[in-house]
């Protein structure tokens, strides 16, 4: 981390300080170890004190809002286009739009969020709830498409069997079709969530890019998110923030790996052949 080739006047740590550090090291009073403070504190102007807890909590809150909003809508929408409901011009228009929405650049969703949630509805800037809604809109098409594929993969004969013994439409869906489609829906949802977790651009537009020291305590308090935190830190000149940036990237990647791994596991575990 500390390079002695850099001239002293370009460093924050003077030669004298390095000498002190060396003596402390020699006495065994300083050593390098796991930095728990990184996970237990919020952002700071001082690289030494900056942590990712604020961003992590912000991300988790945002994801929570996204999930709560997405899953029922996604599954409902996925199921709606099947079964008894007649196909008409409206369902066709919605179908086309779902497929197209999946290809809209994410920054456009940020603009949409800014215009609708902040300016029109006057929801709190930089908050997890707005971030969650914007990301929900962003990943909804992905989840709908995945849910629909999973629901379609359940043979209609299962639904007919349920109806045949006198189950209502709802019972057939909730007792049979949906549970059988659940692994597929979960896989799609987790991948959608992983996508949302790594998404930065739309959050910049709704103000989640601010420098926020406090760990958010509610869905409406100002917060930032993990990828935005990385973006902010990567822009700072201090050498120590480079390390912080790398560490935050590792944390983000770890989450993404874990989520994708879980998705693969679910698919492998519950994959069913008919």
């Amino acid at each position: 981390m500390l390079t002695f080739e850099t001239p002293e006047n370009e460093r924050r740590v003077g030669d004298q300080q390095i000498a002190w550090l060396e003596t402390l090291k020699a006495k065994g009073l300083v050593d390098s170890g796991f930095n728990t403070g990184f996970f237990t504190s919020g952002d700071s102007r001082e690289a030494e004190q900056a942590g990712i807890l604020g961003a992590l909590v912000g991300s988790l809150m945002t994801m929570f809002v996204t999930l709560v909003f997405c899953l029922p809508v996604g599954v409902g929408r996925g199921d709606l286009s099947r079964g008894v409901r007649a196909k008409n011009r409206w369902t066709d228009i919605i179908e086309i739009n779902i497929n197209n929405l999946a290809a809209v650049p994410s920054i456009v969703y940020g603009l949409l969020g800014l215009a609708i949630f902040l300016n029109f509805f006057g929801m709190p800037r930089s908050s997890a709830v707005v971030g969650g809604f914007v990301l929900a809109l962003l990943v909804l098409p992905t989840i709908i498409i995945a849910s629909r594929a999973a629901l379609k993969a359940v043979p209609p004969s299962i639904r007919e069997a349920a109806l045949g013994v006198g189950a209502s439409h709802q019972q057939a869906v909730f007792h049979h079709t949906l549970p059988l489609a659940m692994p597929g829906i979960m896989t799609g949802t987790i991948i959608g969530m992983a996508h949302a977790l790594g998404e930065t651009a739309p959050l910049l537009l709704i103000g989640m890019v601010a420098f926020i020291v406090d760990v958010p305590t509610s869905f409406t308090s100002a917060t930032t998110a993990l990828p935005v935190q990385i973006y902010l830190w990567s822009d700072l000149p201090e050498v120590a923030f480079q390390a912080k940036t790398s560490a935050a990237i590792l944390v983000l990647l770890l989450f993404l790996f874990a989520m994708n791994g879980l998705a693969i596991l679910l698919r492998k575990r519950f994959e069913r052949r008919w």
């Binding site: 299962i158 007919e160 069997a161 045949g164 013994v165 007792h175």
Partner: protein, 273 residues
């Protein structure tokens, strides 16, 4: 009787006149089914006798399944299907808007062409119907229903030691008998079977036919089959469909020995179909 009276009393369809054999359980009058533009079933008028087996035969695509699916209103689930005409079970119009379709389907069980057990345990397959209809007050009663249904479907001895194994792991013939047990478990009055043996080998077919023979005294059974031998073996009455028209109905013996209609004659002697 003068000529006009005879003309009036003669039904549009000669074969549709009920023959003496039990009370009619199901009465169909001028049933028409359209799938969008396609007129799949034309003016079908037919009586199904109680506690007996009636077989629907005819070349494929002639509307046998379509008519069968009218009897438990399964066609309601097909968006393009439009059903008109009158179908009564025990003098009750089953297309009456105030009728509860769910209750109807509990009274009219169905066995499908391809065995379709739920991907759950054997026990759960049979217990599902009684459970959603609240037919058992406790676990013991449910166990009782499951056991007796499996016995009636002559599957009990083969599966009694592995009720928790998955139903889809059984052989094709066993799966179909499981589906019959599942239908029986809700105590239906009528059981509809749509080519129940077409996916089965001859031995499994023979077992299902034996089973039909055993249960026919207690249920009104309507079976669609493409096998004339099967119709001859299991049924007491036969209805012959051709191109969406009910050509002829009558006692099985009569249809197979001296049919009224030329088309029936051609079909059962294998000239088409």
């Amino acid at each position: 009787m003068d000529a006009t009276a005879v003309a009036k009393s003669a039904p549009a369809n000669i074969g549709a006149r009920p023959q003496p054999l039990g009370e009619p359980k199901i009465i169909a009058r001028d049933v028409n089914v359209h799938y969008g533009e396609k007129h799949a079933l034309k003016n079908v008028t037919l009586d199904v006798p109680e506690k007996a087996v009636m077989a629907f035969i005819g070349p494929s695509g002639c509307g046998k399944s379509t008519f069968l699916r009218c009897i438990n209103r399964m066609n309601d689930t097909v968006a393009s299907a439009k059903v008109s005409g009158l179908i009564q079970i025990d003098d009750q119009n089953i297309y009456d808007p105030s009728l509860d379709v769910v209750q109807l389907r509990a009274r009219v069980g169905m066995v499908f062409q391809k065995p379709n057990p739920f991907p759950k345990s054997i026990y759960e397959n049979v217990a599902y119907g009684p459970r959603i209809h609240g037919l058992a007050r406790n676990k013991a009663e449910l166990d009782e229903i499951v056991e007796s249904s499996l016995k009636k479907a002559s599957l009990w001895n083969e599966v009694k030691d592995r009720l928790n194994d998955t139903g889809t792991g059984l052989s094709g013939g066993q799966q179909q008998r499981l589906c019959i047990a599942r239908a029986i478990a809700v105590s239906p009055e009528i059981i509809l079977m749509d080519e129940p043996c077409s996916a089965l080998d001859p031995i499994a077919t023979a077992r299902v036919e034996e089973l039909i023979e055993e249960i026919r005294r207690n249920y009104t059974i309507v079976i669609v089959t493409h096998s004339m031998q099967q119709a001859a073996r299991v049924s007491q009455r036969v209805a012959f469909f051709h191109l969406g028209i009910l050509v002829e109905t009558g006692e099985t013996e009569k249809i197979f020995t001296s049919p009224n209609d030329k088309r029936t004659q051609d079909y059962i002697t294998g000239r088409f179909g």
